[in-house]
């Protein structure tokens, strides 16, 4: 068991970091301290909430927590976009595709490999949903952002192709490809580096908590497959929906459907 005084000792590192950047006038000390405080407040709060949810094991409460997680992820994706779609599409594309991919992959894991009883057992469902959601969110938001930035940058090239009689999906294909690549590289790196360059956080935690390393590895493999599959599915769906929305059925580029800045 870790005590609060142990955490206080660890916090010295963060404070030291802040003092150093302040002395070197790097303008980061404030951000570091705020992030440190947020870590403490958010994680302790989440720990308290989860403790309650686990103890009550009420399906309605679990659903409410899951919904709140989806809402926050949707807001994050939307607010990370440099160029959002106008209206409900601005948050809708990211939210819809993230939810779709997360729910599919979570259901797949619950029914397939993990099979908790009951299936919505919060000790399994909530952490699982959290890690999948977080990674799908990253894949979706990075891909969406890369796609809209590339479309803005490559506008003359896209319009030149359309004007020469190319259909919208062919004209946007190279941009889709590079947007998906940007969204998928983190998870591909995570899978290739797992165990060799980094020991994934979850596995580290399990081993520190006393689990057999081989068992911890198996869980980690399962999780990496789940988040890899989820992030890929979410990013793919998001890129295709965004491509469809930023063009129209007359094969025009519709930048007017992005929100004005």
């Amino acid at each position: 068991m870790i005590g609060y005084n142990d955490l206080a000792v660890a916090a010295i590192l963060v404070v030291l970091n802040a003092v150093l950047t302040w002395m070197l006038d790097l303008g980061l000390s404030r951000a570091i301290l705020i992030a440190g405080v947020r870590t403490v407040v958010q994680l302790l709060l989440v720990g308290l909430v989860l403790k309650t949810v686990f103890a009550l094991a009420s399906p309605i409460l679990i659903a409410a927590v899951a919904l709140a997680m989806f809402a926050m992820a949707s807001y994050e994706i939307g607010s990370r976009q440099e160029r959002r779609f106008a209206g409900a599409w601005g948050y809708g594309i990211g939210a819809g595709t993230t939810m779709l991919a997360t729910l599919l992959v979570t259901a797949f894991a619950l029914l397939g490999a993990l099979r908790p009883v009951p299936w919505y057992a919060p000790q399994v469902l909530i952490p699982l949903l959290g890690i999948i959601l977080g990674n799908v969110m990253n894949g979706v938001s990075v891909s969406l952002n890369a796609l809209s930035a590339a479309i803005m940058r490559e506008r003359p090239a896209i319009e030149a192709r359309l004007a020469l009689g190319t259909d919208r999906y062919t004209a946007l294909k190279p941009l889709q490809r590079s947007a998906l690549r940007s969204g998928m590289i983190p998870i591909i790196n995570q899978m290739s580096a797992a165990g060799v360059i980094t020991l994934p956080g979850m596995m580290t935690g399990q081993i520190l908590a006393g689990m057999d390393p081989l068992e911890a590895s198996k869980y980690q493999i399962l999780l990496l497959f789940l988040i890899g599959g989820g992030a890929g599915m979410g990013a793919l769906a998001a890129v295709y929906v965004a491509t469809w929305r930023i063009t129209d059925e007359r094969d025009r580029l519709r930048l007017d459907r992005l929100a004005q800045r």
């Binding site: 030149a160 020469l164 259909d167 025009r252 580029l253």
Partner: protein, 198 residues
Amino acid sequence: MLEGQALRRLHLGPVNFVLRAGECVSIAGKSGAGKSVLLRMIADLDPHEGDAMLDGAACSGMPAPEWRGMVTYVAAESGWWDEHVAAHFTQGADFAALFPAVGIPAEAAAWPVARLSTGERQRLALLRALSPQNRVLLLDEPTSGLDAENTGMVEVLLRGRLSAGTAILLVTHDPEQATRMASRHFEVRDGQLVENIP
């Protein structure tokens, strides 16, 4: 051959016009008057009201890529979607026949686009738009950055297309070019397309 029927977008229109096969019509007007808006509307590149007809076939009645293969818009600002020049032309294009006609060496096909000057880009963007399917060319200042010699070569190329029956809508700021190339002269003024009758 090409007929515009009550085309309207933003502050422009309704615009009606008829363009005959092998005819070149010039369009002048202040910048911002809506010349590009008009050409883009005819190519169906922006949402608009009204319709355009090619030999009685409505633009709205066929897939847009098919329409744009026949009624082809060449923007003033050229766009490039590949690193190399050759990738922007149809496979099997005869660079040795095409490029020298506008004063560009055939070897330029192997060049990266980044190596091209503005004027070279402009001429190649026009060349790549020419295809056997073209019935109408919508040209947005195709020679604006070119010297007299290159402008002359482009005009010869365009005359060749005209005599083959292609119609051309030519947006140009140069009244002399309009006189050389076009048989009728229009101006976009106060949101309307008006014919300048000498």
